[in-house]
Symmetry: C2
Subunit: 290 residues, 2 copies
C-alpha cells in the first residue's frame, strides 16, 4: 500500500493507493500548527505502508519545505517532522501541480511523457518524462505559468516579472483581460460581479467581449504549449484546473492556436482534458519514487 | 572503444573515443552515394569497438533518417545500411545539435542536466537530463530555434512559422535585424558586404546600429532561455555555435537579459560558452546509449 497525501490550503486529502488505483480516500482539515501530527494520527492504523508521498502547495525541494504561502509554513524539514512516525518508510514530496501532473500522467497510461498544465487562480504545470516526474535542478520544472509570453500587455505578475503566461491565461488573467477590453467591445458582462466563469459563459453565448478574451487567452496557451513542445517534446499535453470546466469550448481553441504555432515536427502532439480532477494529486504523490 | 561519427555537409568527422575522451580523430569527405560504405572503410580496422554513434545534420528517429537536406539523403534505415558491417555492435543516432549537446554536457561534467543552444546559420539545441540525451517523443526536443519569441517583427522562418527565435538570434537573424534597422541608426556597416561577424565587430567598436541589433538578438535569447528554464529547469545552459565567436561580449548580454526575464527560482542557472567547438558532436555521438 502507498499513501498519497495532497495538502491544500483548507483540507488535506489522503489516499490509500495500490496498483495505481485509489482504494480509499478521506480528508482532514489543514492546521498550520499540527499539520504533520494530524496526518500521522489520520493514517497511523493503515497497514503495510511501503511509500508515502506529499503534494504541497508551494516550494519544496528534497523533502524540505521552503514556503507554503497559503498555509503559512516555511523552512520545515519533512524528514525531521514526519519521518519519526514512519522511520522505515520511504518518503518523498513535491509541489501540488507536479503531484497532479504525475497523477494525470499515470491515468493517461498510454503516454510515457506528458506535460500537464493546470489553469486555476494561477497557471501551474508539471513535466513527466518516461513515466517519472521531472522536478528540475531548482524544483522549478513545470513553472510554465511564468514563461514570458505577452509583451503586448506586459501585465505585472505576482512573481515580480511582467508578461507571464499566468497574467493572461489563468482565471484572474481572464478577468484582467475582460476589464482591459471592456470599453472596446459590446458586452453583457456585469463588471460588478465579473468572474472567469462569467466571461466564459458570455463567450459561449456569443458575447463579443467574452469571445475576444477567451480567444486571446487560448491563443497565448497555444503559444506556450508550442514552445514547451520544441523544448522537451512530449507524447501529450494534459490540461486541467478549474478553468477547464469550460470544457471542449476552451480545449478546441487551445488546440487551434497550438497547431498554428507549433513546429511541424510536433504539431500532432495530443492535447486533452485532465480526467482525475482533485484526485490527481493523491495518485501522483503516491508514486513520486517512480 | 567507441566510435563517435559526426556527419556534416562536406566532411564526416570520426572520433575514436574511450573513457569520455577523444583518443584520435580524422575526417573523410561526405559523399551522398557512398556515405555509410565510406565510413565503414575508414573505421574497419579499429579494434574492440563496443558502440557506434552518429550525429546527423537533419531529422533522424530510431536509427531511421527522415531527411538530411544538406546532403540530399532521405528515408534511409541506418540499421540496414550500416549494421551489416558491425552486426554485433550497438548503433545509435541523433541529430547533430543533440550530439553536440551531449558532448558539451559530458565536458561540463559537474552538471547533470544541461540545455545546449547552438547559434549558427540557424538556432539549434539539445536537452540533457540526468546525463542522458532527451530526444523527445517526435525527435524534436531541442528544436528551440522554433520557439515563438518575436511577435513584433514576426519574420517568416524557414520552417514555415513566423516569429521563431531563429529568425532573430541566428547569424542570418542578426543580418536580417541589421537590414531592418539600417535607416534608423547611425552606422559604419557596409551593407554590400554585411555579415553577422561584421555586425558584431561594429557593435564592439560602438557602432549604434550594431549595438542595437546585438542587444536585441541577445534579449530574445535571454527570453528563450528563461522560458526553457521554467519548462525543464536544468543545472546550466551551454551556448555554442559560430556566432559565439563573439565571446563574452555576447555572453554577458545574454546573461543580462536572462536575469531580467527568468523566474526567481531559476535565476541563478549558470550560462556559459561551449568548450569543445567542432569536437562536441563526435564525443556526444559516442555516448548516445547513456
Amino acid at each position: 500500500m502507498r499513501l498519497g497525501i495532497d495538502v491544500g490550503g483548507t483540507t488535506v486529502k489522503i489516499g490509500i493507493i495500490d496498483d495505481k488505483k485509489i482504494i480509499r480516500s478521506f480528508a482532514i482539515p489543514t492546521k498550520k500548527e499540527t499539520l504533520f501530527k494530524d496526518i500521522y494520527e489520520a493514517v497511523k492504523d493503515e497497514k503495510n505502508i511501503e511509500f508515502i508521498g506529499f503534494g504541497l502547495p508551494g516550494t519544496v525541494k528534497d523533502n524540505y519545505i521552503v514556503n507554503l504561502p497559503n498555509i503559512g509554513i516555511k523552512d520545515v524539514d519533512i524528514n525531521e517532522e514526519f519521518k519519526k512516525y514512519f522511520p522505515n518508510v520511504k518518503i518523498a514530496s513535491t509541489n501540488d501541480a507536479n503531484a497532479a501532473a504525475l497523477g494525470e500522467s499515470i491515468a493517461a497510461s498510454k503516454f510515457k511523457s506528458t506535460y500537464f498544465i493546470t489553469l486555476g487562480t494561477g497557471v501551474g504545470g508539471g513535466y513527466v518524462y518516461n513515466g517519472s516526474l521531472v522536478n528540475g535542478s531548482h524544483a522549478c520544472a513545470g513553472e510554465v505559468g511564468h514563461s514570458f509570453i505577452d509583451p503586448v500587455h506586459n501585465f505585472k505578475c505576482g512573481c515580480g516579472l511582467n508578461g507571464c503566461l499566468e497574467t493572461v491565461s489563468s482565471a484572474t488573467g481572464v478577468v484582467r483581460l475582460a476589464k482591459t477590453y471592456k470599453d472596446k467591445f459590446k458586452t453583457n458582462i456585469d463588471f460588478d460581479t465579473v468572474s472567469c466563469q462569467k466571461v466564459f459563459e458570455a463567450a459561449k453565448s456569443g458575447d463579443e467581449l467574452g469571445l475576444y478574451v477567451v480567444n486571446m487567452m487560448a491563443d497565448y496557451l497555444g503559444i506556450a504549449l508550442a514552445n514547451i513542445a520544441v523544448c522537451c517534446d512530449v507524447d501529450a499535453f494534459i490540461i486541467g484546473g478549474g478553468v477547464m470546466a469550460a470544457g471542449d469550448f476552451l480545449l478546441d481553441k487551445i488546440k487551434e492556436s497550438y497547431v498554428r504555432h507549433a513546429h511541424y515536427g510536433v504539431r500532432n502532439i495530443e492535447i486533452y482534458k485532465a480526467s482525475l480532477g482533485n484526485q490527481a494529486g493523491m495518485l501522483g504523490a503516491a508514486y513520486l519514487d517512480e
